[in-house]
């Protein structure tokens, strides 16, 4: 049974359950289900129980934020000071960051309880989570199915109620698609809305962190906690939203003009199409104006994504050389050979494929580079 953040927050405040008890309940569920689901790749139970104790103290004092004491999970590419962060890649096995990502710092200030880091495609490159060096997570709704990806573990832990919510990252669908596969809510905020400081980079002009939750309201609650400009990420923006996103969900849709892009319906599964059409009718009945629009450039979105993401990845992943952190090959005759062997042994096939494509994009026309 999946539980909403607001319900858990209410139970914590009514003293029906303490944050420590709630955390222990989640730990019990993880110990039972995770060996099968493989949704978590690093567990942080000691840190979680410490945070839960502190959360109980804050709850007792009475001015705790909504997310205080709520157990959650982070994707394995979001840096956590002193705790394993490996992008599910052999090349980063054993890596412990020395600082916190801004989103994690913000959630910690809210009293969040981190249960562990979730499985993902290696360096977020993929859409099934099968390129993880720890093996793929399984879809809790049907273990014969994939979870989607790359934030497959983050979607699976929310789906199986092994965390009340999680954070993922989305470069070309990596939050939204696994959320859809696992039947949970996934939200990729507008680029710049959330700081990526401490998110291990893949395609920097597309990467964005966002929540995976059991309800739209929960996604808004988590977004409100992590949003905002950050000096440490020059692409992030302080924007005045007027109110919190969670509050704005309670307003009605009367008078809103909502565009529906025709292209979104090309080749869509009929069952999904009829569900979306039902939703459109519901919004229309409540007073919104629906307008059909065209997005002719949409057909170029995927090839454009592929070119930009791979070009940026080939540059971003240049830092993995086995010298300062992560995996290093065991035998070599020169520094050059050490770097080449480390990278060739440490990266999986899909990562290498994208690095090569990116190198092609960036060096095309400069054969003598």
């Amino acid at each position: 049974m999946r539980t909403k953040i607001s319900e858990l927050a209410k139970r914590l405040r009514n003293r029906e359950i303490s944050a420590v008890e709630l955390t222990k309940a989640y730990i019990g569920a993880i110990e039972k289900l995770n060996p099968t689901l493989n949704a978590y790749v690093h567990l942080t139970f000691d840190t979680a129980l410490n945070a839960a104790e502190q959360a109980d103290q804050r709850l007792k004092e009475g001015d705790a934020p909504l997310l205080c004491g709520i157990p959650m999970a982070l994707k394995d590419n979001i840096c956590t000071d002193g705790l394993n962060t490996t992008c599910c890649s052999k090349i980063l096995k054993g890596f412990k960051p020395y600082y916190d990502a801004t989103v994690w710092e913000k959630l910690k200030a809210h009293g969040a309880v981190l249960l562990g880091k979730t499985n993902m495609d290696e360096f977020a490159m993929g859409s099934t989570s099968e390129t993880s060096c720890y093996g793929a997570p399984l879809n809790p709704r049907n273990t014969n199915y994939v979870t989607g990806g790359s934030s497959g573990g983050s979607a699976a832990v929310v789906c199986a109620n092994l965390a009340a919510y999680s954070l993922g990252s989305d470069t070309g669908g990596s939050i939204r698609q696994p959320a859809s596969f696992c039947g949970v809510v996934g939200f990729k905020p507008t680029y710049g809305a959330v700081s990526r400081y401490g998110l291990i980079a893949y395609g920097s002009s597309l990467d964005q962190i966002g929540p995976l939750t059991t309800s739209v309201k929960d996604a808004a609650i988590v977004f409100d906690a992590i949003k905002g400009g950050d000096k440490l990420d020059q692409t992030s923006v302080d924007y005045d939203y007027g109110s919190s996103l969670a509050e704005s969900l309670d307003r009605d849709v009367k008078g809103m003009r909502i565009g529906v892009a025709e292209e979104f319906f090309d080749g869509i599964n009929p069952e999904i199409k009829s569900k979306i059409e039902e939703a459109i009718k519901l919004i229309e009945r409540n007073g919104a104006v629906i307008e059909s629009i065209r997005l002719p450039a949409l057909k170029s979105a995927l090839p454009v994504y592929y070119i930009i993401a791979c070009a940026e990845a080939s540059s971003n992943l240049g830092r993995y050389d086995g010298i300062r952190y992560g995996y290093r090959t065991s035998s070599y005759a020169s520094i050059e050979e050490m770097i080449v062997k480390t990278r060739s042994e440490g990266f999986g096939d899909e990562v290498k494929r994208r690095i090569i494509l990116g190198t092609y994009v960036l060096s095309s026309g400069y054969y003598d580079a």
């Binding site: 054993g94 890596f95 412990k96 020395y98 600082y99 680029y191 710049g192 020059q234 692409t235 923006v237 065209r294 002719p296 450039a297 057909k299 170029s300 995927l302 090839p303 454009v304 592929y306 070119i307 080939s314 240049g318 050389d321 086995g322 010298i323 300062r324 952190y325 992560g326 290093r328 035998s331 070599y332 005759a333 020169s334 520094i335 050490m338 770097i339 080449v340 062997k341 990278r343 060739s344 990266f347 290498k352 494929r353 690095i355 090569i356 494509l357 190198t359 092609y360 060096s363 054969y367 580079a369």
Partner: protein, 97 residues
Amino acid sequence: MSISKTEIEKLAKLAKLSFSDEELERFTAEFDEIIAFADTINQSIEGGTEEIRNVGARMVSFDDLRADEVMPSLPNEKILSNVEGYNGFFSVERSKK
């Protein structure tokens, strides 16, 4: 558009990667498909692209830059804690002459 095995080898060298012959064959074959897919970008977009604008650009002026002052930074020992076999130096195997 097609790409040769030699070109892939050249790209691998630039990217500091090495491939076995079997991997090289496989990558070369896959590459043609990927390039063909990326090439669809050249197909003209109905209605043109004049309306596609960059909405994210932000100008940074010199006034926005902070003063050049020493700020707190991370302790060296913490940053170096992930280095394999660190003992005051980055140790690597002795290179053969």
